[in-house]
């Protein structure tokens, strides 16, 4: 690691001010940032440790939903009683990610902002448009088995690796942001930015802005939601494909549907078209198959990730069929 200064402010406003220094970065759990600093992918000159900002560590009830502080640990959120009862897919998504030790360290905001696991991005000796804008993308003609099939561009085909973000997409979470004394909130569905010609820009977060909390609105359908993750080994591996889903079913007919995908998109992927297909139809396998087709309709594959299209469809059907409230 390269030398860096270290500060530990106790107010969000002070952290935001410090963040104005050029080449500075926030550190929360450190499980992604330090990893990338050791690999020389990130080289911040100033680290701002936000762990002393008490107000960022709370989970509050909020109009039937939750307001989750940016510093709430992944393990605490996953085992929170409200989350287990009302948003089971969120708990399942978090617990399917990383390992118990990492989840004890990882924060809510850090999880949302974790960088891709594209092996070229993580190898600082390789070109990569995301790490070094304009240097090229070796994944497109290289080894791309873990790469995205949705939302890709000619510049980048890397997947967003977060499991938690997939569930939060399906739940229509809202990201609370603070910077330069001003506060704003952005729906998570508008928070992530497609790579386009600028894969280095991943979210709408601006310089000096800090995520303070994530709001999870009340959603009746989420009580019977589910997260299903398919990976190369049974545990402690990133998703090849994952599905977050929730259905509100009355008399066998779908009233409301939520569907989001992980492991296949350049951003956590919400399937609005597929959701439209589900609503108003019987909660049966035939309907789920139609939705699955719609979800991957715009897929663009590369040499080694063609398998993801079929795997994605089957995972969607399996996840929806396994919901308990289909009758």
């Amino acid at each position: 690691m390269r030398p860096f200064t270290y500060a530990k402010p106790s107010q969000t406003s002070d952290a935001s001010k410090s963040l104005k220094q050029s080449n500075s970065a926030i550190i929360a759990g450190g499980t992604n940032l330090l990893d990338l600093m050791k690999l020389d992918v990130n080289q911040p000159a100033h680290l701002i440790d936000i762990n002393k900002i008490a107000e960022l560590s709370q989970i509050k009830n909020n109009k039937g939903g939750l307001l989750v502080g940016a510093l709430v640990k992944n393990s605490d959120l996953a085992h929170n009683k409200q989350v287990l009862e009302n948003f089971p897919m969120l708990s399942q998504a978090i617990l399917s990610g990383a390992s118990a030790q990492v989840r004890n360290m990882a924060s809510t905001a850090g999880n949302l902002l974790q960088r891709t696991r594209c092996y070229y991005f993580r190898n600082s000796t390789m070109p990569c448009n995301k790490r070094d804008p304009g240097s090229g993308c070796p994944a497109i003609d290289g080894y791309n088995r873990i790469h995205a099939i949705l939302g890709t561009s000619d510049s980048c085909i890397a997947t967003n690796p977060s499991d938690m973000a997939v569930a939060l997409m399906a739940l229509d979470a809202v990201i609370h942001i603070e910077g330069s004394g001003a506060k704003r909130s952005v729906p998570i569905t508008k928070f992530y930015v497609l790579p386009g010609a600028h894969p280095e820009k991943e979210t709408v977060l601006k310089d000096g802005e800090i995520i303070t909390a994530v709001e999870i609105p009340q959603l009746a359908a989420a009580k019977h939601s589910r997260y299903l993750k398919i990976r190369d080994r049974k545990s402690f591996a990133f998703a090849l494909v994952s599905v977050a889903c929730a259905l509100d079913v009355k008399n066998g007919v779908i009233k409301e549907a939520r569907l989001a995908l992980g492991g296949v998109g350049t951003i956590p992927w919400r399937c609005t078209e597929a959701e439209k297909i589900l609503v108003g139809k019987p909660a049966k396998k035939e309907t789920f198959k139609l939705a699955a087709e719609a979800a991957v309709k715009s897929a663009v594959t590369h040499k080694h990730n063609k398998f993801k299209v079929e795997l994605c469809k089957r995972t969607i059907v399996k996840a929806l069929s396994a919901l308990e409230n289909l009758a």
Binding site: M1, P3, Y6
Partner: protein, 205 residues
């Protein structure tokens, strides 16, 4: 992480990773320098470019010193305190050999900075026995032969001890899942599992 490589791809990546690892060999040297500078600082000599106050409790003992911002909690334990029971496997959060407890919870000490733990209580493998009386989990690992080379063992035991207080289900599969952050290259998994389940069922903790 394991990947399905074609043979040609594998050899390409092998070459790339050889280049990478020779680059990585630089980092321990840089680290040693940083540590040396930190040690100097303790004795009031040459300063490290960015050294910070750290007051930390490790295995019941309080330490106060100045430390370079780059030193991980793992390197601090091993190099500054000579507590070499905690192992460095991958240094990237992927193997679990560096598992310790901070304020009662298990974490990976390679992915956190020592300076971030000002005021914290750390327990390492050296801190779980009471004098000559081993922790029940240590005894169970010996009884069930829960290791071969022993390199992963301190991390396995620290994870297993933490697991006793976590919301982990009762089945063998539940334990496998809760222990998935600790890899064992020798494949001692069945015996590790048996040791953990015996301690959990016996309530000896």
């Amino acid at each position: 992480m394991r990947l399905n490589f074609s043979r040609r791809r594998f050899s390409q990546l092998l070459i790339a990773s050889t280049v990478l690892s020779s680059l990585e060999e630089l980092s321990p040297r840089i680290m040693k320098k940083a540590l040396a500078e930190t040690k100097d600082k303790q004795s009031g000599a040459v300063s490290s470019p960015h050294a910070y106050d750290l007051s930390i409790n490790v295995n019941g003992k309080q330490h106060k010193l100045k430390i370079d911002s780059r030193v991980t909690l793992l390197d601090f334990l091993r190099e500054n305190l000579n507590l070499t029971g905690t192992k460095k496997g991958c240094d990237l959060g992927q193997c679990g050999a560096c598992t310790v407890h901070v304020n009662g919870r298990r974490i990976k000490s390679c992915l956190t900075l020592a300076v971030m733990h000002d005021g914290d209580q750390v327990t390492s493998i050296e801190g779980i026995a009471s004098g000559d009386d081993l922790h029940p989990m240590q005894e169970a690992f010996i009884k069930h032969d829960g290791f071969q080379c022993g390199f992963c063992t301190p991390g396995q035991i620290m994870s297993a001890v933490a697991l006793l207080k976590e919301p982990c289900g009762a089945s063998d599969d539940d334990v496998r899942e809760c222990m998935s952050g600790n890899l064992c290259r020798c494949g001692a998994y069945p015996n590790i599992l048996a040791a953990i389940q015996e301690v959990r069922k016996g309530g000896k903790h």
